[in-house]
Subunit: 337 residues, 4 copies
């Protein structure tokens, strides 16, 4: 296909506008064909200066607009299920921001609808799979050079949490990245979860259980522990150490420029996920565009989106109960075998 | 005191012989005055070429030998209680290798006997407190520059376990170091313990639960997690990251010489605890000799020895039960306030 | 401009074919409109599967082909001068691979021709300026947070040199990157050069002076030293430490994934400049496309290309003479002030 | 020998007093038997609280004092030659602080006097040879695992220079350590030296040529470059990278505790050589005591002391002349073969 892939972007908020910019100015082989947002003023702002884009208040209108060949869903999570099903009706390939569907029941409906179609249309926006360091780690684990993985030790720290961030969101928003990454790196499902609660940091807002220490068990007996600390004050740090039978591998100790001044040698720590994972977002969307133009669907599937939601729900119950909660997954359709 | 401190060394096995060498050739201000071992041939070998040392089969005879002013206990753990009480009878200061007394009941009897004396005579051989990196971390935590500590993430890996090493020994021998270090770094008791069991490594002997992931809770609500993996195959690695309210600090990523050859940049990892902690052993014994010559007792106390045993026992029960076990400590005598 | 920028790529060898791929599949906002190579078979191979590209044996034909709006020169160095002047005749913006013109006399003719036009058309392909680490270092130096830079210590190592690589090429091909980077980072000209010759490595081909140690002096009294070692055997390493009045900063110790196995902790070292600087090439071409579409010319100028050639020539004379050689530059036209 | 080695310490200034403390409290197997200093009050202060030490104004009286079996010279450099010859007269083994004798002519007289005795009595105080990192590097180079060494890149930075520090002292005091280390690591003489002078740092006192960049050539064609920067403002940094035919090895990037706080991950940099090399001083004196008690002389020889002085003198001439200066050494007596 030499023609540019026409993409409808649903949602013109922070993330949607950023994807519009990415498709227009960074990614090769695609163009923004339509944008939908209930706030059409915001949608117009997002596409200012871009030719050939139609602006819509309704999802359906955007999907049916001239030139639309694929859909990027960046609207709020609760709107995803309807948008996904609308895309299925039209046979349009979709890149859907995470969470695919916030409630696992809705996520399962999407899985079942896609399974009924009999072909994959959805790539879920777990962009860490497109990060160079994670890919290197994945490649090492898959090679089995270090034997079988036994444990993943993960760290997920933010400078501070946004207003309204709840204790449950540490699990179902922050840790959802580690849930997907662990499933992908280990190539197995997470089967149980326990959430430990150290005394909250004085730097956390009143009432927020922060940090938390989340321990997952997997189908083949590995352990995944995650320190999640969203008011750490000191930076955006995402690290992962895989401990295997004959070696360990660690990523995330960013080490690009070492500056030595009075008092010590210092390395910068990224303050923001958009800085740390900027390249991963670019590669994610490029990979989706490239695959779509070849008529393929690759990357994290609707099943991955569903499983992440189900594990996150179990995690929130574990946080609330203080005990160990098992993860119950529906049978996996053959489409995702 | 300008005269050298005369030390009776109890036990002439691997550790005892190493302490004889250390006192004779490394430490300033002390000399080996007597050695006791049921195997007197072994004791004679240990002191070959050293003048002025008497060799004994019995502990009592060594303690009463001419020139003995202090005792270093390096005999097997089950012999410690009797040796400690014999030293108490004679008012001799003691450096006692860990575990002070393997069973917490016996350890408590030692605590009570010392409390009755009304003055400290015992320093327990938790040598990590004398390691330069741990001391730097302790000093940073005590300064509260990073705020209150919330979590410690610990790694304890050996190349391989010796014959006869049991699943319980991962907790009560290997992790006992982390138990002491955590109590010391955080300056609070450990109150509960859970032991998680990932599927054992193919590199572990049949039947050994290795690795284990041990999670402690503390009196003030901190968490301490320890990966213990005694058949890691790749080295002796002891790391500790303290996560505090406004920063984190990590030790144990040895980084002395970086060698770059075809394929990568490599740092050596110590293969043995005697290499990693050689300086700590030297400093520990030197500190004990220096304090003893000044008539002082410093360092880890009999209470520390007792608490470590009690926590380790709870850990073994947690390993066996699969659940969370609380630690029950006797009241702390005023002597150790 | 919403239309894609039509680029004529001159040269379809290794580098040219890679740029064709980059424009077709990676870069946003451009397309390959024409390719020229005396070997038209090779040119056809390079554009197989790309629509709308014309293939030519002659440069002039490619520049005049329909849809050509800009030129990327990736032909052999000796062909650059003629191609550049042909582009000037047509007023086409150019991205010219390094060396802009191998001989400084020819490079100066290009400078003078562009100066006569009175506007910049040329960006020279010094891609390190687009590397994220170098950009971070540049930004730090420009901020003067560490005071004035006093010295740059540079390392430039390859696994092995290709057949036919001469001692002079260590200076005028390998070190030419450091020549540009030093001029750019320090924002001043290099004024003298000395080349020291340690005894050659046993791993270097017979007769090749490898490694070399090159020392540059700058107009404001800074020093730049470069270890260039093209048969190091162990990897592609490019490092730079800037020593300033109140601190130092170092880049190039890649540190992405640390793998610990028996014997040590290892980080991978890139084996190839295309791996190390892949992102820099992508960003360089993207920056050129973006600027060109806005009607701008940014990045390294023809003057930078000329100065690099002049310094490299002085370096080769210094290698041959064993002494210090001063760099003589023509007056800088106002266009490059 | 079970008796403690009686040491006469010459000089009770900063360094002498530190050695008195070291022998009294740190080192095993020795005691301070006598101290000499023209300022006997200072000498008395240095030995306060130590039994069995005699205090003298004159060197000869100290050497002849009861119990003196060995000499540690820590007086000012100009006093060393006479003290060394006095020790030779009495057949006493000597540990002599660096520089052995400041002027190479005097150093050569010491060499000749010792050669005439026909046996070594002198160990020169180049303590870096006792630093664990340097020893690891030496051991790696000697193993030839990386092939032959081709270059050493050295860094020597101080926070600030003491009052009265001259441009020549950067070479003959600071760099004298690298001179010895390079001769020892490479096991060959330095044959020529060039000193390059970047524009001085604004942080250096008026008139001081700081930093300097010193390049040595060796007898077998290796290069040794040293950045010496004594008013760097940011710490005491001593690094050395050995570049060999099939790999490189680097020491001196201290990496003990990594502290992450807002803005970055930080490692402490030592501010003082007594911190960085404290262990090396202890090991140096212990090694000397141990060897002396066994009737041996090991460590850096009088020849090493002489060669260091001769190379440093050439370095100062190179600094003054701006050119390359060859090092002329007297023939090496067989005693030092």
């Amino acid at each position: 296909m030499s023609e540019l892939l026409g993409v409808a972007v649903l949602g013109a908020g922070h993330m949607g506008a950023d994807h519009v910019r990415r498709i227009d100015r960074v990614v090769n082989g695609a163009r923004v064909a339509a944008v939908a947002d209930p706030d059409t003023g915001r949608a117009k702002d997002a596409v200012a200066g871009i030719d050939g884009v139609s602006v819509h208040a309704e999802v359906a209108a955007a999907l049916d607009a001239p030139g639309v060949q694929a859909v990027l869903i960046a609207s709020p999570g609760p709107a995803h299920e309807e948008a996904l099903l609308a895309a299925f009706d039209r046979g349009l390939p979709v890149l859907c921001e995470k969470p695919m569907v916030p409630e696992s029941a809705g996520a399962l409906r999407v899985v079942e609808a896609e399974a009924k179609l009999g072909r994959r249309l959805v790539q879920v926006g777990f962009m860490r799979r497109y990060d160079a360091e994670y890919q290197r780690l994945k490649s090492l684990l898959d090679s089995r050079r270090l034997g079988r993985p036994l444990m993943l030790h993960c760290t997920h720290r933010n400078v501070s949490s946004p207003p309204g961030f709840t204790s449950a969101m540490l699990v179902n928003s922050s840790v959802s990245h580690e849930i997907d990454v662990a499933r992908w790196l280990l190539d197995q499902e997470l089967t149980a979860v326990t959430v430990l609660r150290p005394r909250p940091s004085a730097g956390a807002p009143e009432g927020l259980v922060d940090p938390q220490f989340v321990v997952f068990e997997t189908a083949e007996g590995a352990l995944v522990d995650v320190e999640v600390f969203v008011n750490s004050g000191f930076g955006y740090q995402v690290r992962c150490e895989a401990v295997c039978e004959s070696g360990s591998a660690r990523i995330g100790d960013e080490h690009t420029m070492v500056v030595t001044t009075a008092g010590g040698a210092r390395e910068e720590v990224a303050q923001d996920y958009l800085v740390r994972f900027a390249d991963a977002y670019d590669r994610e969307v490029q990979a989706w565009v490239d695959a779509t133009r070849r008529g393929k669907v690759t990357g994290p599937s609707a099943w991955d989106g569903y499983a992440a939601s189900a594990v996150a729900e179990a995690g929130v119950r574990a946080l609330e109960s203080g005990g160990r909660v098992t993860v119950e997954l529906a049978p996996r359709p053959d489409l995702y075998a």
